[in-house]
């Protein structure tokens, strides 16, 4: 049985696009500037709600905001891809968890949203050329994290930012 060669290519495109999206989350959650910037094409534009800005410049600014938070996790799912040659329209669900300090103790801020991305393939590589962020829901409560409790204290390998996270240290 031989397979139409064009069809497996689409699977390769899906996987490549998915990996770029996952790199975005790593860049954001580990405050890893190099990884975060690797998802954008030069001159890529992003609109997170404050208007369309240069995505590479935005990346520098967002990391200084994120690094002041206690921790974040950007969980991606439901990646729908519409391929059209060297361009792909992609919708990705994102459930973003942030824990921040406040005068009243740590807070949990959660945001459910979607990235509407235009990916472009240049010289065989997929990256984001344009991103529009859509807000769906949010949840804001005092943090209930219990890192020192009997149960959680045994789970000692904690997520950190670059270069201290176990991903980089191998610890």
């Amino acid at each position: 049985m031989s397979i139409n060669t064009q069809v497996p290519d689409s699977t390769g495109d899906h996987l490549a696009i998915q990996q770029v999206l996952y790199r975005y989350s790593r860049g954001i959650d580990r405050c890893d500037q190099k990884t975060l910037k690797s998802v954008w094409w030069p001159s890529a534009k992003a609109d997170y709600g404050n208007g369309e800005v240069d995505a590479l410049a935005w990346s520098d600014e967002v990391l200084s905001a994120l690094s002041s938070m206690l921790r974040t996790q950007h969980m991606l799912s439901n990646i729908l891809i519409e391929l059209s040659g060297d361009v792909a329209a992609v919708e990705t669900y994102c459930r973003a968890y942030h824990e921040i300090d406040s005068d009243d103790g740590p807070l949990e801020l959660e945001v459910g949203g979607r990235y509407l991305d235009r990916f472009e393939r240049r010289n065989g590589e997929w990256r984001i050329a344009h991103r529009r962020y859509v807000l769906d829901w949010n949840r804001n409560t005092p943090s209930t994290a219990q890192w020192d409790s009997e149960f959680y204290s045994t789970l000692a390998r904690r997520g950190k930012r670059k270069p201290d996270d176990p991903f980089y240290t191998g610890a």
Binding site: M1, S2, I3, V7, P8, T11, H14, D47, G49, N50, G51, M75, S77, N78, I79, L80, E82, S84, A89, E91, Y93, R95, G112, G113, R114, L116, R132, Y133, V134, L135, D136, W137, N138, R139, N140, T141
Partner: protein, 191 residues
Amino acid sequence: MTRTDLNPSDSNTELPTRDQRISDLLDKQDCAELVHRFARAIDRCDEDLIGEVFHADATDDHGSYKGTAREFVPWVIEVLEDMHRTQHIIGNILIELEGDTAQGESYFIAHHTLPGENGEDNFMIAAGRYLDRFERRNGTWRIAHRGAVYDWSSIGPSTDIWDRASMADYSFGVRGKADPSYSHFGGLSGS
């Protein structure tokens, strides 16, 4: 034992050929996309998109609903319309292929904002799994039967802090064709 049996026994099986593995990958990609398209259809409250993921004679068992997929569509739209918004996050997707049929188990965590009894909104999470039977007919995979299994849930007062009316520059998710995803997609929008 099928090639992709998720309850493996100790029977001897030959390793699949590369072409077979690619073919399996494509079938699984098609089935997974149906699960994601279903979530999009529900979250956008879009009857046409829900209808597109099912075969014409498909059935659905949501516990509170058991019947044809054709009648499931207006039922679920009515349920959704009592809520302000939903987001169905899909996690673990396991698919077991057997020829033109596939069994799927897909984890979901569904987020709902809905009116509470005292006039304030509630935020409710329902988590579980979709147990789907996919069938390929005339070369196209669609859902022939969906069963929803519920695993855990959580509900509390909504803590939403967005004043949507005054945040004009932001894009907010909405039901129907006004959602920004419709202009973003071409063929996937169902238009």
